[in-house]
């Protein structure tokens, strides 16, 4: 989109809510806490907000959160792409701001999944056939689980490319290393590759420690124009490029190639729109629902060739000083995964670009990628963020 410099969409405020365990908070209160913090971070208040976006698992979810917050927005969006939702909502918000349809868009996420449901949903459940409308029945009859779907992808990647359980495990080990420096992280005790591969198998070949944690938590970001950001005296983080894609919904049997995620479509599109290459990325925030998710994503975004993801991530390839410092807050594998983690990717990417990364700050980080993955490798959404005006 051709847009004047003053109307360029920027992120001016980000925040996480308290996490990872919030037994004393409602889901909507988590949205509100994150919203208040993100608005304060950007020097704005609820009265400045004319656009609102959020998503959850029932229709008109965003309008419900807007009601709870007392907002009467004239732009709203609740596109649900599972874990990729918040990258999509941010992309849409950028278009709305740059077209003049909105001035200040607040995007919030809140979940109390852990307190509500215990540990069932993420690693063991989601395997019932009770909710399988229309074509979703085809994969719902067999007792497949969410982990099972990612396990099918992992097995196929191992078969085609010789990827090993130890290479997958190294993703979890690096995330835990980063989480150790994040005082809010759900799991902070260092682990080894051996710990991961000797943890209980949940769905072969994925072990318990190949799976994300299950948490309560949320986050928010506030977007506006570059011009407004300058008036506020905020440090703007620019949306350099964005794209999203999908290949299937609940039926992973409909995924064309289990070793190629939707990132293979939206990643290159986002880089082209940003006018940069993967080699220019300083820090990555990549959805890590499972270790295999990260291996597929680094390949599909173009950080290495297809099939070489295992070698790319091992031996600290995703650590500080590695090929691609990734998930500097500890990721969903160790820090926080309340169900749709995409907002956390945006928040951490912005903090890194502002130099607020703390112990895991990537020196002089100028360009970051946040990539969300949702469903059963069903959706992907890439946001490329920069600290300098493009």
């Amino acid at each position: 989109m051709s847009v004047s410099k003053g109307r360029r969409a920027v992120i001016v405020g980000v925040a996480t809510s308290d996490y990872p365990k919030l037994p004393e908070m409602s889901e909507h209160a988590v949205h509100g806490q994150a919203a208040d913090r993100a608005l304060a971070d950007g020097g704005l208040t609820m009265k400045d907000v004319d656009g609102f976006a959020s998503t959850g698992f029932f229709p008109m979810y965003a309008t419900g959160v807007a009601e709870y917050l007392g907002l009467h927005p004239t732009y709203y969006d609740e596109t649900n792409a599972g874990g990729a939702s918040f990258e999509v909502l941010a992309e849409h918000a950028a278009y709305a701001i740059e077209s003049g349809a909105a001035e200040v868009v607040l995007i919030t996420y809140g979940s109390i999944q852990l307190s509500q449901m215990g540990r069932r949903l993420g690693t063991g459940g989601g395997g019932g056939a009770g909710f399988a409308p229309g074509p979703a029945i085809y994969d719902a009859l067999w007792g497949n689980t969410l982990v099972g779907s990612y396990a099918l992808a992992a097995r196929r990647h191992m078969h085609q490319y010789g990827t090993t359980p130890e290479q997958l495990a190294s993703v979890a080990v690096t995330m835990r290393t980063h989480a150790a420096t994040n005082p809010q992280a759900q799991e902070r005790e260092p682990i080894t590759v051996e710990d991961v591969v000797s943890s209980r198998l949940v769905a072969d070949p994925l072990h318990k420690l190949d799976c994300c944690v299950i948490s309560d938590g949320g986050g928010a970001c506030v977007m506006t124009t570059a011009e407004r950001a300058a008036d506020l005296g905020a440090t703007p983080i620019y949306i350099l490029g964005a794209a999203h894609s999908t290949t299937h919904h609940m039926n992973i049997s409909a995924m064309p190639d289990l070793t190629v995620s939707p990132a293979a479509q939206c990643g290159p599109l986002a880089f082209a729109r940003a006018g940069i290459t993967p080699a220019e990325i300083d820090v990555a925030e990549l959805y890590d629902s499972f270790t295999i998710t990260v291996v597929l994503t680094v390949e599909d975004l173009g950080f290495c060739a297809k099939g070489e993801g295992g070698a790319f991530v091992e031996n600290g390839g995703l650590g500080l000083g590695g090929h691609l410092p990734t998930n500097t807050d500890g990721g969903g594998l160790s820090a926080c995964h309340p169900g749709m983690r995409g907002m956390f990717l945006i928040v951490e990417a912005v903090r890194q670009l502002r130099g607020q990364g703390g112990a895991t700050q990537v020196p002089d980080a100028r360009i970051a990628v946040a990539h969300g993955t949702g469903g059963m490798l069903s959706t992907g959404a890439t946001l490329i963020l920069g600290k300098e005006e493009p």
Binding site: R120, Y138, W142, R200
Partner: protein, 149 residues
């Protein structure tokens, strides 16, 4: 017939076993489920471009042409598989551990299924498998698969 499995779920449950879930046939899928009830696996073939497809749809995925059901050989290979060792949902938790697989049929389309009468520890991607049929309601059946050769 239920998938291979002897281990019990860690949860105790006094209720009677829950049967396998049964599909509810709709306009697109009724011939597919009915044929499975009669021991036949169907795939769709495009009457314009000749492409095969599953799951059943109103039109061809490749060219939007009209489709017709044709009987498949019932043979294929394992495209990928996993051994489910944790699932709290009934009836699946009573089957643990059990094998969920994606099978690539000789005709080309892929489907999800359970592999039965097999040792999960020796399965390999690419192994040849063959359909076994089970009625799951008065109108619908399913295709399970088992290794052959």
């Amino acid at each position: 017939m239920t998938p291979t499995g002897t281990d019990k779920s860690p949860l105790t449950d006094e209720r009677p076993p829950k049967p396998r879930p049964a599909p509810i046939p709709d306009h697109d899928s009724a011939p597919y489920w009915t044929a499975l009830h009669e021991g036949k696996l169907l795939v769709q073939k495009c009457q314009d471009c000749g492409e095969f497809q599953l799951y059943p749809r109103d039109r061809c995925l490749a060219c939007r042409g009209p489709v017709a059901f044709v009987e498949a050989s019932g043979r294929g290979t394992i495209y990928s598989f996993t051994v489910i060792r944790q699932n709290y949902a009934r009836p699946f938790r009573d089957w643990i551990p059990y094998v969920v697989a994606l099978v690539e049929l000789e005709e080309g389309p892929r489907l999800m299924t359970n592999l039965i009468d097999c040792d999960p520890e020796v399965l390999q991607v690419g192994d040849a498998v063959e359909a076994r049929f089970e009625a799951v309601s008065e109108e619908a059946g399913i295709a399970l698969f088992t290794p052959v050769g």
